[in-house]
């Protein structure tokens, strides 16, 4: 168990002024079975209006409009969390898991994922792996098959494509592992969150073990522990985009994220 302080900063800079900027953000961590959000404050600048809601996956959303011209859009989220707790009756956690059993456009397997799963099964052989052991095995396999590299894949890269490239970022690691799990009939979901230290936001996988969701981080080959703060989950990346926006203006945009998590 850890008492963590977090600060999440996202900014978009525009090459030319834009206006009538409408946004939807999914960047607020919520209390789950393993983390308790004790405090969570946010600031969005500029904005004329801001509303809160929850999406159908249970993620907390912010949305609103920045009417006036601006060249910089900033979001700051700060708060305190207790992680690594164990509470089976977490509030807000939906029990319906079926939606996480099926492949999506981004995780749909073709030949390569199928072959990887076949390889895994061969290695498993007659070993009777528990669900946790199996998930660790898939996590490790994905970790070994991919090499971390930025700028090679995009937000539209599918699991199959990432596996073919053999390289990618946390999102790609997560998609490949999701695809493997679902192909093996294990309900699995995509998770966005933050890690202890300083860096960008992170993505990993949760699988359902029949009782609860457990986190696995294929990028780092680590079982999720109290160094992780979860922000949102969904079927794949597209359910969890931190920011979606439309604006008026001819501008190039550049998004950057800095997440800082430290022990109190």
């Amino acid at each position: 168990m850890k008492n963590l302080r977090f600060h999440y900063h996202m900014e978009i800079s525009f090459s030319e002024p834009v206006h009538s900027h409408i946004y939807t953000l999914k960047c607020l961590p919520v209390t789950t079975g393993t983390q308790l959000i004790q405090e969570c404050n946010y600031a969005v600048r500029p904005t004329d209006r801001i509303q809160e809601s929850y999406d159908s996956f249970g993620n907390r959303m912010l949305y609103g409009t920045a009417e006036e011209e601006h060249t910089l859009f900033q979001v700051d989220v700060t708060g305190r969390a207790v992680t690594g707790i164990c509470d089976a009756d977490a509030p807000g956690e939906k029990t319906d898991i079926s939606v996480y059993k099926y492949q999506t456009v981004l995780t749909k397997p073709q030949g390569r994922i199928g072959k990887l799963l076949a390889d895994c099964r061969k290695q498993e052989g007659s070993m009777q792996l528990s669900l946790d052991e199996k998930a660790r095995f898939y996590m490790q396999t994905v970790h070994e098959r991919l090499e971390y590299g930025k700028g090679i894949t995009t937000i539209h890269t599918t699991a199959e494509e990432a596996l073919a490239l053999g390289r990618g970022v946390c999102q790609d690691y997560a998609h490949v592992m999701l695809s493997l799990c679902r192909e093996d009939r294990i309900p699995a979901r995509y998770v966005v969150g933050m890690l202890m230290g300083e860096g960008e936001s992170h993505a990993w996988v949760e699988i359902y073990d029949g009782m609860t969701w457990r986190g696995y981080d294929p990028t780092n080959d680590l079982v999720v522990n109290d160094s992780y703060i979860k922000i949102s989950h969904g079927r794949d990346y597209s359910d969890c985009s931190i920011n979606r926006g439309v604006f008026t203006g001819q501008a190039k945009q550049c998004q950057s994220i800095l997440a800082e998590v430290s022990e109190e």
Binding site: T24, Q51, D55, S56, Y63, T65, S98, V99, R244, V246
Partner: protein, 439 residues
């Protein structure tokens, strides 16, 4: 039926329809083409008793479909009770995870249903398809009737025909019924849409604002219509004629420029009615169609009044066997396609096509349904002044407010090609008026 004055007016009526802009547009090879929708003056006539039977069956069907959608996005009892296999729901392109747990105003998902029926040679009616997303076509028989009435008033005096003009009254009543407080808007993608004529026609007849996405805006969890002077008026109901995926770039397709950012969040909070409800396409999926009679008995405890065309799901081992054994007698439909696309008659395939198709079927059994070819009853059309028999279907319109209401008319579409069973307007078909007799 004897020849009457009206059939002699074919040319005049079609000319007038063209002048009124009764057209539909299609995109072919990335080009937008507007086509006239040929009208045939010989009506389809349905006897009073026969229509009463259809009406009862249609109400029952739409009630069950509405229950199904509410269940799927709510408790999912029909899945838990193993009446409908889970995968058929979650893999369906019409299933939208964003709709889970969202209850629309008054619990209505199927505000306007267009149920496609055919009558077999045995006089039996069969439901071919349930169109629940954005079913179009009711305006065509309305305007055609209007013009026919003018060209040949005697015809309508001497026959006892149910007046069809009340469709827009039903529409208005339904829209007011679900309205959460504010104006009623018909949302159109604009004049380059296949059914733009219909959007403007309904706006005129119901008194709703015709608006494009850019005229609507979300502020503080409510939807507003921005008029020419910049004044904002609250909107309580949107009859949207754009598909789910383009409705809101913040929840659905991010690339959409015809939608309204965050309209879905307003809807989620119950501050606007969307007609039809997003996500209702889960019930008009061709794969789900197979289960509609089961839904009727599951939710209503009744036997289905209207029959489905005999349908097989290759997904089930037993059905797959049947499909392989009787392949040449069947029509195969790709569940992901609409508008008459993705429909193939096995007996018209070449040997190579057949082999390719069977391989695909084995690989993706969930993707197809197979149906017996129904020998439709022919209906006469006039071609160069001569009566010729052609295949035709009937799209019946059911509106849902506090209870389902069936419009005593409908859109009869026919194939102009004597060898074809496909009547879709996008495939070059024409249409007829549908007379429901009042005595």
């Amino acid at each position: 039926m004897k020849d009457f004055e009206l059939t002699r007016q074919s040319e005049t009526v079609n000319e007038l329809l063209a002048r009124y802009g009764v057209k539909f547009g299609i995109y072919k090879n990335h080009e937008f083409k507007e086509q006239l929708f040929p009208f045939d003056t010989i009506p389809r006539v349905i006897e009073k008793e026969e229509f009463a039977y259809l009406e009862k069956g249609l109400k029952q069907r739409v009630m069950a479909l509405n229950c199904f959608i509410r269940d799927i996005y709510g408790e999912k009892k029909i899945i838990k009770d193993k009446v409908v296999p889970e995968e058929f729901v979650y893999i369906s392109s019409g299933y939208l995870a964003a709709c889970d747990g969202v209850v629309p105003p008054k619990g209505i998902y199927t505000h306007i249903a267009g149920i496609d029926l055919v009558q077999g040679k045995n006089k039996e009616w069969y439901v071919l398809e349930d169109n629940l997303r954005v079913p179009s076509g009711a305006s065509y028989p309305m305007i055609a009737r209007e013009i026919c009435r003018r060209s040949s008033p005697d015809t309508f005096e001497s026959n006892c025909i149910e007046d069809n003009r009340y469709y827009t009254k039903l529409l208005r009543w339904m829209m007011d019924y679900v309205n959460t407080g504010g104006h009623t808007v018909i949302l159109t993608p604009g004049r380059y849409n296949a059914a733009y004529f219909e959007h403007s026609y309904f706006a005129e007849k119901t008194g709703a604002h015709l608006a494009t996405g850019s005229e609507l805006t979300v502020e503080n969890d409510y939807l507003y219509f921005v008029d020419y002077s910049g004044k904002k008026e609250k909107v309580g109901a949107v009859y949207r004629r754009i598909s789910d995926e383009y409705l809101d770039p913040m929840t659905f397709n991010e690339e959409s420029v015809i939608g309204i950012p965050n309209i879905y969040d307003v809807y989620r909070k119950g501050h606007v009615a969307l007609i039809n409800a997003p996500g209702n396409g889960v019930a008009d999926d061709k794969g789900i169609y197979y289960f509609v009679p089961k839904m009727i008995s599951y939710y209503l405890g009744e036997d289905a009044i209207l029959q489905n065309a005999p349908t097989y799901l290759p997904f089930y081992e037993e059905d797959r066997k049947y499909v392989l054994e009787h392949f040449d007698e069947l029509v195969l439909k790709d569940v992901a396609e609409a508008g008459g696309y993705g429909v193939v008659f096995a007996n018209k395939m070449t040997a190579q096509e057949k082999e390719d198709f069977l391989n695909l079927l084995k690989k993706e059994p969930r993707r197809f349904i197979a149906q017996e070819v129904i020998d439709f009853m022919d209906i006469d059309i006039l071609e160069d002044g001569v009566r010729k028999p052609r295949k035709a279907d009937l799209r019946a319109f059911v509106l849902m407010a506090d209870e389902p209401m069936v419009w005593k008319s409908g859109l009869t579409r026919f194939s102009r090609n004597p060898d074809s069973f496909i009547v879709n307007s996008s495939q070059g078909g024409g249409f007829k008026d549908t007379w429901v007799l009042s005595r």
